[in-house]
Symmetry: C2
Subunit: 170 residues, 2 copies
DNA sequence: CTTGGAATGTCAACAAGGCTGACGTAAACT
DNA sequence: AGTTTACGTCAGCCTTGTTGACATTCCAAG
């Protein structure tokens, strides 16, 4: 099981890309690339007293303004207590606004303030710059493959959330 | 800067894949996919009292048996205090062995024990299974693109480390 | 209408795993 | 002999995850 060669030919197509060696390369690529992926925003956030969790919250509030805490919870995949701590500081610092729901007063609808949008843009710009350079270096076909593999790697729930965000939320 | 259309044509090739929207998709794909990427080993480790940090150490010790602490530090990108805490528990639990260097007695060479290799295989199998499914679903060309983009996303240092591991350490 | 349960969000306390800083020891280098 | 390198460790801090307890609000069954 641990050293499946997978060097057979199946349906006329070589399966050499499924060797353990190829898979290991992908695993290590994910590890190193994710570090790069988060490095630039992390540097910016380190100066303020924020962390990656704040970035994630800001990102998704910006993506879906008015989203509820529960909604955000599902997307971020953390406990509400964990998210709450982050939100509390963001609200205290006037980057995020929490509005009591009109229909259901239990819900809180989250919005970025002007300052919040400014920080979001700063973080986003930094992360996109690296992404853009990588895309440019690899080319459009590589990018298509990149997205396909990542999507196939997600848990089913997350995949639904991703696709929903990607295709707009009708 | 924040909403560059990038919809021009450059060198005869469309640059539509470099729009902010495309970049944002890639960013979110990385976020969700990384969660899936770590989910299976995390579940296994949760039962023991280990975490992701232990997994990383075990992975790279297995990849480069006899590596030194300093070496591992550079690859993992953490402080020695942080790594040491992890290594201490792994050594105490007889999953890792630390041997004093023969040429340079200041160095400690790290090896997995039999038990260490068993755990590594268990974690590795779980992670590879997901990777294999994703590769299979996306196909060989997508996988090639996936790796290209990830490699281009890494910091230069990490890219060197990655390539060195990938091509064997001569 | 009331009451009990479900949903939503907040507060408190704890653990993992990053970090810095300081220090000690042994070996290697100059 | 003195300096540098490799490693280990102690102490303390921060972020970010966790569980447990609790308040508020909604809704539906009696």
């Amino acid at each position: 099981m641990s050293d499946s060669r997978a060097a057979q030919v199946y349906g006329g197509e070589s399966l050499l890309f499924l060797t353990d060696e190829q898979l290991r390369q992908g695993i290590e690529a994910m590890f190193f690339a994710y570090r790069g992926f988060t490095a630039d925003p992390d540097r910016i956030l380190a100066d303020m007293s924020y962390g990656r969790a704040h970035h994630r919250a800001i990102h998704f509030i910006n993506r879906a303004p008015g989203t509820t805490v529960n909604n955000l919870l599902a997307i971020l995949g953390v406990t509400k207590q964990s998210l709450n701590r982050v939100l509390r500081t963001l609200i205290a610092d006037s980057l995020v606004e929490s509005r009591v729901g009109k229909l259901d007063k239990r819900e809180r609808h989250l919005h970025l303030t002007e300052a919040g949008r400014a920080l979001e843009a700063q973080l986003s710009d930094a992360q996109r710059a690296r992404m853009r350079a990588a895309y440019k270096e690899a080319g459009p076909e590589a990018v298509a493959g990149f997205k396909q593999v990542l999507e196939a790697m997600m848990d089913a729930d997350m995949r639904r959330a991703y696709v929903k965000l990607r295709d707009g939320t009708p």
